[in-house]
Symmetry: D2
Amino acid sequence: MTGRVQTAVVGVTGYAGAELARLLLRHPRLHGAPPVFAGRVEEKDLARGGVPLVEIHPQLGGNGAGKLKLQPFSWELLAERGVEVLFQATPHDISREVVPIALSHGLRVIDLSGAWRLTHAANRAVYAFADEGSDQAAATQAQAAYGMPELHRAKIAGARLVANPGCYATSVILAVKPLAAAGLLDIDRGVIADAKSGVSGAGKAPTARTHFMYAADNLSAYGVFTHRHTGELLEQIGIAAEDIVFTPHLLPIPRGILSTIYVRFKQAQTRESVAGIYKEFFAGSPMVRFHEKTLPQIQYSVHTNYADIGFQLDASGRRAVIVSCLDNLLKGAAGQAVQNLNIMLDWPEAEGLE
Amino acid sequence: MTGRVQTAVVGVTGYAGAELARLLLRHPRLHGAPPVFAGRVEEKDLARGGVPLVEIHPQLGGNGAGKLKLQPFSWELLAERGVEVLFQATPHDISREVVPIALSHGLRVIDLSGAWRLTHAANRAVYAFADEGSDQAAATQAQAAYGMPELHRAKIAGARLVANPGCYATSVILAVKPLAAAGLLDIDRGVIADAKSGVSGAGKAPTARTHFMYAADNLSAYGVFTHRHTGELLEQIGIAAEDIVFTPHLLPIPRGILSTIYVRFKQAQTRESVAGIYKEFFAGSPMVRFHEKTLPQIQYSVHTNYADIGFQLDASGRRAVIVSCLDNLLKGAAGQAVQNLNIMLDWPEAEGLE
Amino acid sequence: MTGRVQTAVVGVTGYAGAELARLLLRHPRLHGAPPVFAGRVEEKDLARGGVPLVEIHPQLGGNGAGKLKLQPFSWELLAERGVEVLFQATPHDISREVVPIALSHGLRVIDLSGAWRLTHAANRAVYAFADEGSDQAAATQAQAAYGMPELHRAKIAGARLVANPGCYATSVILAVKPLAAAGLLDIDRGVIADAKSGVSGAGKAPTARTHFMYAADNLSAYGVFTHRHTGELLEQIGIAAEDIVFTPHLLPIPRGILSTIYVRFKQAQTRESVAGIYKEFFAGSPMVRFHEKTLPQIQYSVHTNYADIGFQLDASGRRAVIVSCLDNLLKGAAGQAVQNLNIMLDWPEAEGLE
Amino acid sequence: MTGRVQTAVVGVTGYAGAELARLLLRHPRLHGAPPVFAGRVEEKDLARGGVPLVEIHPQLGGNGAGKLKLQPFSWELLAERGVEVLFQATPHDISREVVPIALSHGLRVIDLSGAWRLTHAANRAVYAFADEGSDQAAATQAQAAYGMPELHRAKIAGARLVANPGCYATSVILAVKPLAAAGLLDIDRGVIADAKSGVSGAGKAPTARTHFMYAADNLSAYGVFTHRHTGELLEQIGIAAEDIVFTPHLLPIPRGILSTIYVRFKQAQTRESVAGIYKEFFAGSPMVRFHEKTLPQIQYSVHTNYADIGFQLDASGRRAVIVSCLDNLLKGAAGQAVQNLNIMLDWPEAEGLE
């Protein structure tokens, strides 16, 4: 694909949508081709052609973005504007409906929801998709590449549908997969992933849990043994449910995830042997920063498109604590989506992300 | 009034309600007489006699509070339990309806809402009370004492209805009234009250403004020239609307108010002359801490029942910046309500508040 | 011990010291007998007889505390004032020096530092005490009771020296000990304690780590495999170092600890069987709130003297996630110290703590 | 100046330095010409040629920045590397010493400190510069342009020394200057600037005030009637000290300033008349976003290089509250510095800033 590429974003009103807009507007290969922003527009805003983007996200306003609008969604609009790649940043049930149609219109789709990430029906059960079991859903799922470039770069490059991973899942998989793939883990002793996320991960809807008074000066565990990102861990790491515990927590910060992961090794390792595995695994991956000597913190990653990974080995060399950080809206959502765009269009993988 | 006094709280589910419950449960004069908590109870909880208080406010749970319940409200319940003093911590429209009835049942009422604070109809206009202009409303208002002990201690002692002041209003009035009453202020040059409040002041309802992502890492001004606490400032300070500007801001903290107040004096003052006025004014007031040498900060006041006041004079002695802090849920609401209770029952004013 | 008891606090300037002062000042059995506050006083403050407490902790100021001062420490001062119980809230190296002398003066001591918590020299190695191996140290250690009432109530009652537990240690031990004592744990599969603490746990000294810009909007793991509270876990739970991993994290909040603890059972359990063990273990323990149906959060515990514990079982009944919360300055420090005082003086254990 | 331009940054270790590095590394006109980072390097790091930038600011690490180092400062280094423009992000006393030498070496300098912002000795008195009154200092000051492009664009373009404005000063001057310049203000009635800043404004040194426990969940006023940015307000707005009060506050957030400014007009204004003045004043200024209908909030501006300004008029049209927001590290420091660089080099003013 060469020359000017037209993108569209459905779902720009959310937090990930805002970051996606920001990244696409400043992407060097998309200069002069800002995305089409489409979605539901209220009656009263139709007369003015939609809602100015700066009214939705004032921080985006500037010379360039000043005139862009969220326009009423229609397939005609996308066709007229020559959209080739669609970012779908909507709730999963909307994505289940819309994505098959988008594919039928010949669009390539990067879907940021949980709609198309899971291969196995058992793992999808927690979502209770309305179209579960339908032929169309099966056909769509069959086309989907799991959008984690560090694991599936080649498949993403050719995919028509990329299922952008969950934020927690990205954090945990990037930390565990290299060790699992190298056969180091004593899986019988289990993997524990204790993950903590900022409040933007809970979405923009005002709820009891997203109230400032609930989240601030607090920490709470939730979704213990039941969180729906678990299926992604099982499928991508290749681990059985009984061998991993994943516990998310709500952190009193706007954004960022830190996962503390506990593993045991079959055989004693050295700092160098473990580091070597990570370095080899991420050798061609510009968006993962492996920290050989220190443990990353949330501040390393927030407002960047990187995942940061480090570890500590115990004296016996048999146990390790791995710390994995990322910005849930960037490497955990919009940044990874743009990374996937770059790969799909054969552009440098880190373009517009550094 | 002697011996055991039975209180009741309507509106315990809110933030001020929680603090009120905590204060009343540990009040030395109310040992053995926990308040009756009454309000709306859902169908499903009727069978178990209401909702355990610890399910509503887990931090309150302990040996004492473990068995208390929020019971379905009825006048019969209050009568059976021998309630003498009712704390009404409900939205102002509810208080407008309920308080006249409570008075007719012979209860003494401490109302924490804005329903009965304002003497002048013009100042009440911003509330648009449904019963505005009715005889009953006028008769009720006529009985109300404005519940700021530092200004109206004697009237509160004998009142059947105490209108507990607004949190912002308490903060500003306590800072300005002593200087205004002493005739120091050059009113023509205006008074500016720049006030900042934690998010609990915005209430428990999840809204766009109380969302963690809106409030955290942010500061925003609101209600500029229109905030409904303004009327309290006008009536209690005795100042015209054109001579004061009051601007509230939403602080990214759970609780606490700091008001920065700018005044000009008719004549040059000294540090001692101004301090002397404050000290005299608050001589018999245990819940105001005047700081002669330093400016208070929000941390001085939060989780206490005190208002903290200090000031800085400029070199000319003609201008002062006054800083006034309090906990919006305590001296700005529940703490002041209990202070009023103490006065109404002729108990030591600070009982249970230190 | 009956009648008026005189206490003293050395180390009131720190965060735990402030809470200790607050609790002792409002303790019903100590009315009329405020603690003697003693410590290092600068030359310039000697003339005025020490530093007013309200200058050190402005939030403590009120009618009662207004006249109290931090006085220059001397054994004569304590003797003159008839001090019987000394709270030592100083760094551990100071406590190692001072506590033996205090005991020799006939004082009973509640030491809040890490100086006297550990029985085994191997576990003390991380502190590198200067007097390690001395006869005096050994004799002092031999007198020490580990001040966790839920485990050692009887011993504390008669102790002359109570070593108040570490905040993290309290959080983890209370959660794990009941299950370990009941023989439920599959120790070979390991216990993981992923703990998160507010910044007050890091002390009052301004450092790079306690800078607002480091701690805010961040989360960081530290002391992985090396934190000095680990020894308390080993000794009190009765578990070997290779069977537990304890990882502390610095939370962007002022106070509160939440520990997420992962255990495996030898045999499948039910929700009821596990709950039964906790309820039995804590039956006579007023300062632990066991939550049968929900997981506690930090907000449940902060500004209270309670530890809050809950758990979630997986479908197999073989794995559990336990969540344990407390206020690191209260049940994790000052609150537990006062609980120990109550026990030592044969007062109701929860007196002044609810 | 055409072709490749080599810049240098002295003072990259601070918060503004980190942002400056980030902006310069991604500046489109500086691709292939990363800045030289120079400063004090410890003995132990000399052997490895300085300290890798990613060890100082881990969030900056990525492919590009991976190899850059903070090198030991010397004039030879700057000469060898062909540095033409020097960003001096050091404390003001260092800038007073270094900047005259830099100018003598033919460098153009953008100084981010308070060293060269003030024309009048009286306003500089608060800094107590060691070289105050010297010929060299006078000659250097005479060359300095006050680096606020919206006021002094032409002078900046030709300047050899640009004194980058203070963060608070930028916030207040941009809000007040347009109205003052248009002759609208009733100066006799005074201007009140109540400003609030995040903690990064207090610098990187760990102090009692920058401790998390001091700043978090708090708000405090400081420097009342004495803050050293006041001189910039007087000189740039053209107002006498007795006609303005500027009160800074420390906000419990990492970054961002919001100033609430109170003015009175000589004659009644309309919303349109006031808006018209702002729009005209900022017509050619890409880095100011004037909000015609809403009041900006800190979140609008943080992590952007813009200043955001809005206002509210009272019913009489005689009083206005102006709200002015910016990111103290960007438009209040590094962003404005790069804006000045663009102007000095005749590049588009907003290049690399959107």
